[in-house]
Structure formats: structure tokens, C-alpha cells
Point group: C2
Chain length 419, copies 2
């Protein structure tokens, strides 16, 4: 598919994240207006809350956009998702007769503050990148036990904490935690020394279910995707995670990009999961391409540095399991799924060092410091570091991008400031 041209001229650039082909959904405010629903187009945002209020553009029900989240729209269902997108695409297309009445509802992105685009119902994080699982498994349990026996049969996941999900731009405070090194006799309570990133995609569940669903149904339930940084305290994790899994190591923050890129926009970029070592059981089998070809990049900018340094470049297509397979697995025991559930893909790492999605892997557990483009070195994050995760599916002369997924590390809270 070529680029679709819009009368919003900035949307026709080859390097915007937000051409007419994308139309991602976010929540924004301006000095004049409270948080509301908007759609990105080039360097502008279409205020769909006022478009709806003035009767110019409707979802099926009334007042779907009279709220600062897209959950009510998701609840309208896939038919409305499609018709709304078709209407918006036509209205914003070059030559549209709607230009004059839409133009007053455009806001410049630089004047907008972004919020979480949806109310996060619950958050689940998976562990579905094979290179990452082997790397981390090797460091935590040794090369012989790197890949757990269940890994090639189940998209392993754990429940995370929805209250920890924040939008891009939110500062992230270094966590305290209980730490115990292998040679320590007793644990101590200190600020985390090995604070890390995890470069992930987040899938947003757009439909309810209350029993097991097939992979095909699961695929239809997914509304869209964001980029996700699953900030991870490696030293807290190493001490706490046996036997019930990560808990406080993953509870500080999970940053997401502010725009929900819909599965409709990503449709041209579908691709297959990799070849299987073991055939999956029927209820998890691939039934078609359900993964996406999305280029991803992580950068780090130390406090005072004049530019960011690249940490890694990777691709979502390194995943072993698609989010449809993850969601199908999530429902097997009858777990009810809700509109607004967020599913983290797991860290996305490729086979080469330059494609590893966490500092744990890049610095091999802190043993091989990374030299940044500024000359500084890093093993894990230092206070003042700013991390940005970006990504886009690359089309023919255009990109379907996600915007920034950015966060700056603040020092740990002082013990005297506890309540």
C-alpha cells in the first residue's frame, strides 16, 4: 500500500510517524481544554471529542468520546472500529469536502499534553522473545537451564500491576527494594543498583471474554498496540522471583507510548511467527500471520549529554509467540478478559548484540559495560538518564509510527520522605 495523502500537509512527509495510513488514538489536553480523545495526523491532533459534540463524526452510541480514554469506543466493537476509521480516513484525505469543517478541530501536537490513551483494566506481561529468554535464563540459571522446559509449549506470562502503567514523559523514580547478592549472608534494604529497561510492545484488548477463546477470536479481540518500557529492577528480581515470579521488580513503572496504533493500521505489516521447534498444541497453533514487522529502537541520553545514544535496534518480528497466542493462552483457565487489558509482549531481542532489548543483555549482566556515543559507559541506568523507545512499521514511502515512549530516571525517594 502506498502513502495515502491528506490535506494536512505534514502527514504527507516520508518521515512522520502519523501519515493518513496510521490514524492512532490518544488522549490530550491543551491550555484551553481538559483531557479528551484525539487522533494524530502529521504534526496535528484531530479533537474527536469536539467533532462528536458538534455532530460531525460519531461512533455508534452517543458521548463515546465525552471521556478522557478510548475504552468506551473499544466497547463499541470491531464493526464500529472499522466504520469510524473509514469515516475519519475519508474526511482527512486530500480533496475531502470536509476539510473546512474539520480544520477548526485541529490542534498542534506541540501545544498538547498527552495522557494514557486508555484506562488500563489489568496488565499482563509475557516472556515470549526466545533470544531474550535464553539470554536471561543463561544469566539467572546457567546455560543448561536457560530455556525453561515449558517455554516452547506455552507463552509464559505473569500478571503485572495496572496501577504502575504511565504515559510517555512521566519521570521514573529509582525503586527501593530488598537486595541480597549471592555472597551476602543477609539481605539489605537499599535503592536498586541494577535498574534496567525492557523494550516491548503492548497489545490492547478491545473486547470482553469470559471463557476460553481460540487464537482467531483472540486476534479479533486485539484493538491495537503501543510501545512499552517494562522498567525492571534486576537486583530486586534476582532475590524475590523464586518461587512466585517477579513482583516489586516490575512494579515501579511501565511506560507506554501515547498513541494506540490500531491493528487496522498495522494490517499491511503482518508477518509469521518463526518456525517451531515443537509443534504447538492445537489451541495455540498459528492460523495465519498474526505478528507484525515493526522496527524498534532504544536510546539513552545521560543528564547533560547533548544527544541520545542508540542502545539497540530490533524488530517485533523476533517474537516466538504473537499477542493473539498470548491472549488465547490467557483465557484457557476461564480468566475473564476486559476492554483495556494490556498485554506486554516480553522483551524483544534479536540474535545479535545490537538487537538486544535490555541493558541486562547488552552489558551481559553488568560484566561488559556499554560505551555510549558520548564516551560515557553504562551497565545499568544512572539517575538522570533518559530512555526513549521508538518504532514504526515501514511502508512504501511512509511509516506507521508510535511516537515517543520516554522516561527520565529520578533518584530514589529519601527514607525520611516515606509516609
Amino acid at each position: 500500500m502506498p502513502i495515502l495523502n491528506s490535506w494536512v500537509s505534514s502527514a504527507n512527509s516520508h518521515d512522520t510517524d502519523f501519515p493518513l495510513n496510521n490514524l492512532p488514538y490518544g488522549v490530550f489536553s491543551t491550555d484551553e481544554n481538559e483531557p479528551r480523545c484525539g487522533v494524530a495526523i502529521g504534526d496535528m491532533i484531530v479533537d474527536v471529542t469536539t467533532l462528536e459534540a458538534e455532530g460531525i463524526l460519531q461512533a455508534a452510541e452517543q458521548d463515546v468520546f465525552d471521556v478522557p480514554f478510548w475504552n468506551d469506543f473499544m466497547e463499541e466493537g470491531p464493526a464500529v472500529w472499522a466504520s469510524f476509521r473509514a469515516s475519519l480516513t475519508a474526511m482527512l484525505a486530500e480533496g475531502s469536502s470536509d476539510q473546512a469543517r474539520i480544520e477548526p478541530h485541529l490542534v498542534s501536537m506541540k501545544d498538547a499534553t498527552m495522557y494514557l490513551p486508555f484506562a488500563v483494566a489489568e496488565y499482563t506481561d509475557f516472556y515470549a522473545g526466545k533470544h531474550h529468554a535464553i539470554n536471561v535464563g543463561t544469566m539467572f540459571r546457567g546455560a543448561e537451564n536457560a530455556l525453561p522446559p515449558n517455554w516452547l509449549h506455552i507463552p509464559i506470562g505473569y500478571n503485572g500491576r495496572a496501577s504502575s502503567v504511565v504515559v510517555s514523559g512521566t519521570d521514573v523514580r529509582r525503586p527501593w527494594g530488598q537486595l541480597k547478592g549471592p555472597d551476602d549472608t543477609v539481605p539489605r534494604f537499599e535503592p536498586c543498583k541494577r535498574f534496567d529497561i525492557e523494550l516491548e510492545m503492548g497489545a490492547i484488548v478491545g473486547s470482553f471474554s469470559d471463557g476460553p477463546v481460540t487464537v482467531d477470536t483472540a486476534n479479533e479481540m486485539i484493538f491495537g498496540y503501543v510501545i512499552l518500557n517494562d522498567w525492571s529492577a534486576r537486583d530486586i528480581q534476582a532475590w524475590e522471583y523464586q518461587p512466585l515470579g517477579p513482583f516489586q521488580a516490575k512494579a515501579t513503572a511501565n511506560t507506554i507510548s501515547p498513541w494506540i496504533v490500531t491493528t487496522a493500521a498495522l494490517e499491511p505489516f503482518k508477518c509469521d511467527t518463526p518456525e517451531r521447534e515443537f509443534e504447538l498444541l492445537d489451541h495455540l497453533k498459528d492460523t495465519g500471520p498474526m505478528l507484525y514487522n515493526i522496527d524498534l529502537m532504544a536510546t539513552i541520553q545521560p543528564e547533560g549529554a547533548d544527544k541520545p545514544s542508540v542502545l539497540c535496534k530490533t524488530n517485533y518480528n523476533y517474537m516466538y509467540y504473537s499477542s493473539a497466542q498470548q491472549l488465547a493462552h490467557h483465557t484457557t483457565a476461564g480468566c475473564p478478559m476486559n476492554v483495556g487489558d494490556l498485554l506486554g509482549s516480553g522483551t524483544i531481542s534479536g540474535p545479535e548484540k545490537s538487537t538486544l532489548g535490555s541493558m541486562l543483555e547488552i552489558s551481559w549482566g553488568g560484566k561488559e559495560p556499554i560505551t555510549l556515543e558520548t564516551g560515557e559507559t553504562r551497565t545499568f541506568l544512572e539517575d538522570g538518564d533518559t530512555i526513549n523507545l521508538t518504532g514504526a512499521a515501514i511502508g512504501d514511502g511512509y511509516r506507521v509510527g508510535f511516537g515517543d515512549c520516554i522516561g527520565t530516571i529520578l533518584p530514589a525517594i529519601k527514607k525520611s520522605d516515606w509516609t
Copy 2:
């Protein structure tokens, strides 16, 4: 403290769960009325939604009870919790001049349908009973590795699934899952064969926090308690839980009793946690009695049996960590806590076989079948079994009880009925 007498005569019985000393909070409907807030007194429910609507009884804000959950009331804060309880206690006390205007707002419990008493924000389950941890650890990892090294230093927990929390009386459908025995070469996908109960208490968080809190603050944040049955699929758990913890094994249902028993009602029953083998780090240290002396019992009634059989009798005071310590730990990494968060205590088992809070432990991994009072035997749950968990703090001539926490096992859904 002796029993407080009420003009509701059934509340003055020695064996009611709901004397005036209790006043637990629930949500109920009748044939005439939609779900609304109510307070149990003897065998009656006080409709506080209509008491508020008619201006007879108020929380601080307007319309706190014009919703089918107690979250808005919790948000009013501890001072309002105390003043509301004091008003209600006075109004329902023997000799109160309010009797005539309260009486029209009493509903018989037998005409009421109960709902979840609060909107569950997020659900966390802990693993804080030492006898249980040693028993399960022995079965899963052998006696040498029974208690994980971190267990005596941290109240170990994992995030569960809020969408799986249901109110007492909800049927529970046997889950499907991926199973693999130690001698199987590949896993298979089948209905769970080792479906189990876990007898727990659930603590309800009544205040927000967005940074680490002390144990004392955590204790003040807890609004009340329910009994909780953490239905557990042991065969799914054994295959899935390494390395990220239980997931679908705990996602089918978590049943809670319908009445929130407040910390105010439980105040006379406070007790200390047991002696420590290792001194806890400062941020987790006990600062006073924060556990409660609550007698608990689990019964099982097979389909067609004419009476239930006792599975175990235990007590909440077997816990190694209090819910205040669990909540303090939950906040260490900066995890935001919200009104309506539910914290499962972990399975409550004592030292004797008759005090074990799960069938896994009672039947020692299925090796020692349990003979019921009806003569039937059980290792794990069979379809049609009804489990009830009950409990009460025992005062001088009265009990502060929780009502039923009951669920019946339905057969697994047919594969052909998947969507």
C-alpha cells in the same frame, strides 16, 4: 468487650455472624430493588442507600451510597469510616430513638441476593503462611528446598487477576489447562485433574498511596477483611509456574465472602505474629499486634450428599506476616496502591493435619485420600462438590463472622463451546 445489644433481636443471638459488634458492609438486591449498599445486622440487612437518600444517615459527601459498591465510602477516609460506624452503632442499639425510622429500611437476608461488596481494583496474592509454604515447597521442590531462601525475609507475593474475583455463591467451572506430568514427554491440553481450594483471608485496601509506606501507615490503609477461596489448579501450576510464577492456575476464580468485616470490628481480636527466626529488616518490622485471631473452617459437600463434611479448622493467627506487612512490602518499589485493591493472605495452615488449608496439603499431593463424613473419599475436587469457607472472631458471648464463602464446581466447558 461484651456483646452490644440491638433492637434487631436476631442480632443478639450468641451464634449470629452479625451482632451489633460487627456491622459488616455488603451489596445486595431484592426483587424490588437494584444492587445497593447494605449493612448486616442479625438476619437482616440495613439498606444504607435509601437511608442516605432519605437523609437519615450520611457519609461526608453526598451520594456515596448511590452506587453498588463501597469504594466511594472507602475514599472518604478513616475519620468518616469511624464516624459512620459510630452513628450506625448508636442507631441500631437497644433503646435507640431511631428505631422507628430505621425499621422500614430493614430487609430480610433471606430475600437478598449478594454481590461483590466492592469494585476490585487489583488483586495480589501472598504466600505468608509458613506451614503452608513448607508443605507445598516440600511437595514441589523437596524437603531440602521447601522454604525458599527469601521466605523468612519478605512476604512473598504475586499479582493475581482482579477479573477472576467473584462473590460467594458463584459457580466455579473446572478449568482447562496445559498439563505435563514428570514422566510425560510432551504436554497435553485437558481439563484440570487436580483442582483445589486455598483457605485465605483477603485484606481490602481503603486508601491510596503512590510511594513506599511504613507498616504503621499500611495498617491504617486497610479497611477490612473478607474470607477468600483462591481456587487453584495444581497440575496447571506445576507445569507453568517456573520461572514467572502461577498464572492460569489461579485465574479461574477467587471467591470472596459477601461482607466486608471492618478493621474496627476486628480491633478486639488483634494478636501478634509469631516469633521470627530472622529479625525482619526495619521497613517490615512489627510495630504492634496487627494480625487477628479468627477461627476458620472449610467444608465440602459432594453433589447429592445430605450434609457437608469438615475439611479443616484453622486460624488466621497462623500467618507469619500480617496484611500490614504485606501491604508495606507491596509499596517498596513505588507501586501505586488504590482503593479496592485486594490482598490475599496466602493459604492458612496450622501445624496439624486437621488445620491444613488446602486439599493439596491434606491429601499430601493426592497420595493420602481424605475420607469424608459421608464415607466418600477425595484427593482433589470433583464436579458437583460444594466448598464453603466460614470464619469468625470469637468474643465473649458473641462472634464477629464473615458469612459464607461458597462455590460449587461445574464440569469443564466443552471444547466445542469455545468461541
